[in-house]
């Protein structure tokens, strides 16, 4: 019987996990810091945030997805979080059918970093924060490219890292690391056409694959051999390179002058 493999999450799993293993959690600390407290109080006047805690020294605020523009606008204009240093999404489709989107903000005047998080359903779209932070232009394009999350009112929502005619969204957990069929034949289809798939052959993706007899693709191990040489032939040992070269002196180590490395 073929072993069952889950299709909704093809991420590599550990081959062994102890039955009674319970993963420890990083504690979600309450907000004690004065600066963060003031920011939260200020934010509470504008937006109704769900939860706020400190994780490893950075404030995490969980909000509703439709409040994202209002929250970031408030944090930028009132609290001094002027830089959107990072944003992207996490795929929780297999567990909850949702994406988690995070915005990592930096206040340079206060040396504080905040992470604003919200969740959206698979087919929902999120409002663009590009009018507030120009850097979101590219981050949101990357998020669309990698996860297929639609962004409303984005000036130029196109793929950014993958080619325009790519199939699938690579960072989703359903997308295999080695790519789906369209990905594996992408360059052959594009350059030569589908009819050349048989001639060129499938990709060799086994990292441990070594063929000692295959001289068409690689020289024999430890030896240089001519292309497509007979696998049983004696390997050609090359010691001198320019013995057959015209007007060229052969290198002699004894005559060479070795320069001191530290001048």
């Amino acid at each position: 019987m073929r072993p069952y493999k889950p299709k909704d999450n093809v991420q590599k799993k550990s081959y062994y996990t102890d039955r009674f293993w319970v993963a420890p959690r990083i504690p979600e600390e309450s907000v004690e810091d004065e600066v963060y407290k003031a920011d939260l109080e200020s934010l509470a006047k504008a937006v109704n945030y769900k939860k706020a805690y400190i994780m490893r020294g950075q404030l995490v605020i969980i909000i509703d997805a439709k409040d994202n523009v209002a929250t970031l606008k408030h944090l930028k204009e009132e609290c001094g979080y002027e830089v959107l240093s990072e944003m992207s999404a996490i795929d929780y489709l297999a567990q909850d059918g949702e994406f988690e989107i995070f915005y990592q903000l930096l206040a340079m005047s206060k040396r504080r970093r905040i992470r604003v998080k919200c969740r959206i359903k698979e087919n929902e779209a999120i409002e663009s924060v590009e009018p507030i932070f120009r850097s979101a232009d590219w981050s949101e394009r990357e998020m669309y490219d990698m996860f297929g999350i639609k962004v409303n009112n984005h000036p130029n929502l196109k793929r950014i890292l993958m080619p325009e005619d790519w199939v699938g969204y690579p960072l989703r957990k359903t997308y295999p690391l080695h790519g789906d069929e369209a990905a594996q034949w992408y360059e052959v289809d594009k350059i030569f056409g589908k009819e050349y798939r048989d001639i060129i052959g499938p990709e060799q993706r086994d990292p441990a694959y070594v063929s000692t007899t295959d001289t068409c693709n690689f020289a024999r191990i430890h030896h240089e051999v001519p292309r497509c040489a007979d696998p049983n032939s004696e390997p050609e040992k090359i010691e001198v390179f320019n013995d057959d070269a015209l007007l060229t002196e052969t290198f002699d180590l004894k005559k060479a002058k070795i320069v001191d490395r530290n001048r």
Binding site: K13, I26, R56, E86, F133, R134, I191, G193
Partner: protein, 410 residues
């Protein structure tokens, strides 16, 4: 004669003459002065750029996906290939993020911290020298390229003496460093540090007051402070716009709060100001390295953090103690299992703010690994920065942003 394939003839000037007297010029993706695989589609009116569309992704290798399918220690060598000019800065940023996730950041021994800082600052010098070499070559100064590469090779020798590799170091491990400095390394470093300031003076003598260099760089690529913040610029792109923010100083990691160094800031906002900052940063790195040499001698010879749950025991323990061997076996075959949670750790790489966001679900594989590469935004800014400039300035601006495509596309 080659047989035909499916690729149609390709005209670089997509629409050479249009009704409104503009033309579209395609620049890249394989252009010698684009610092990698940048493709720029420029809409031009005469010599002046009206619109620029940077097109990236030609080096996208799926590193974030790899990070989700590899155990943490396995992923570390992959980070070398991001910003391949300063590989240790990437190794370190990743190691710091994982250490913060595990909560063992304070357990890293002092000697490991000193060695890490030495490697980081040496890498900063390598990276800045490389930047100067290629930037000067793009602008047209061939001899600076040759001089810079000469000095860079000596720094590469030092790196090679320590870790065995010239380019892809993997010299930092999660929880410390793998090796102590080889004998005589500090003397070599000292010799290098004595010679480098004269060489920097040489480059400055060739460039700083050079009329052509100043004409090519001054008032070119002006980034106002507001724009720098909007585009999340970091590193020298930010400090070149008059905003003083260096993560080494503001959110210190390792021993950066113990060493004495300055953060150079320029109000010029143009490429020339950034060039001056690069030169000054190299001097500051030399200053840090000089302070690190006596600090190293005072430390205990311990290199890896003691956290048996996550980090393998020292080699002697593995060879002699049964439990250490078992733990080592589990850590190598299954990988460490960090607690559930997420962490974002920013560091100051030579290019800017390099941060790793890691979401862990308690598995040995990261659930989500997002790499915040500074060059990504420094390329994005081109679409606002280039319009209004002339075609010849494009190369200067790309050069002064110091972008590396390994980390833009990841």
């Amino acid at each position: 004669m080659q047989q035909r394939n499916r690729l149609e003839p390709y005209f670089e000037n997509l629409a050479f003459e249009r009704d409104d007297n503009t033309m579209v010029v395609n620049f890249g993706p394989q252009h010698p002065s684009a610092h990698g695989q940048l493709r720029l589609i420029l809409e031009m009116e005469g010599e002046q750029i009206k619109k620029a569309h940077p097109d990236i992704g030609y080096l996208h290798r799926g590193m974030e996906k790899m990070g989700e399918n590899m155990i943490y220690n396995e992923f570390l060598p992959t980070t070398d290939r991001m910003d391949y000019i300063a590989a240790t800065a990437n190794n370190y940023a990743f190691a710091l993020a994982v250490e913060r996730l595990l909560g063992i950041e304070d357990k890293v021994p002092r000697r490991a911290k000193v060695i890490r800082m030495m490697l980081l600052e040496l890498n900063r010098i390598i990276s800045h020298l490389f930047w100067l070499a290629t930037h000067a070559l793009d602008v047209g100064a061939m001899s600076v390229f040759l001089y810079c590469f000469r000095e860079r090779e000596y720094a590469m020798d030092l790196m090679e003496d320590y870790c065995g590799a010239r380019l892809t170091h993997s010299a930092v491990r999660i929880g410390g460093v793998p090796l102590d400095l080889p004998p005589g390394w500090l003397d070599h470093l000292n010799v290098y540090l004595q010679k480098l300031p004269d060489q920097i003076k040489l480059y400055e003598g060739l460039l700083t007051e050079n009329r052509i260099w100043r004409m090519r760089l001054e008032e070119v690529g002006v980034i106002p402070p507001e724009m720098a913040k909007q585009w999340a610029c970091s590193g020298i792109m930010l400090r070149g716009s008059g905003i003083e923010y260096d993560i080494r100083k503001e959110e210190p990691y390792e021993l950066y709060d113990e060493v004495d160094f300055d953060i150079p800031v320029s109000d010029r906002c143009d490429s020339y100001g950034r060039y001056l900052l690069y030169m000054e940063e190299m001097r500051q790195s030399i200053r840090i390295l000089r302070q690190l040499i006596p600090m190293y001698k005072e430390t205990e010879p311990e290199l890896m953090a003691h956290a048996p749950e996550y980090i393998s025991a020292p080699k002697e323990d593995i060879m002699t103690q049964n439990y250490s061997l078992m733990q080592h076996f589990v850590l190598v075959t299954q990988g460490m299992r960090p607690p559930v949670g997420e962490v974002y750790a920013p560091t100051e790489s030579p290019k800017g703010e390099l941060g790793f966001f890691i979401r862990s679900e308690g598995e040995p594989y990261a659930y989500r690994m997002k790499i915040r590469a500074p060059s990504f935004w420094h390329t994005g800014i081109l679409q606002d920065l280039l319009p209004g400039h002339y075609l010849a300035d494009v190369v200067t601006i790309i050069g002064s942003t110091n972008i590396v495509f390994g980390e833009i596309d990841r």
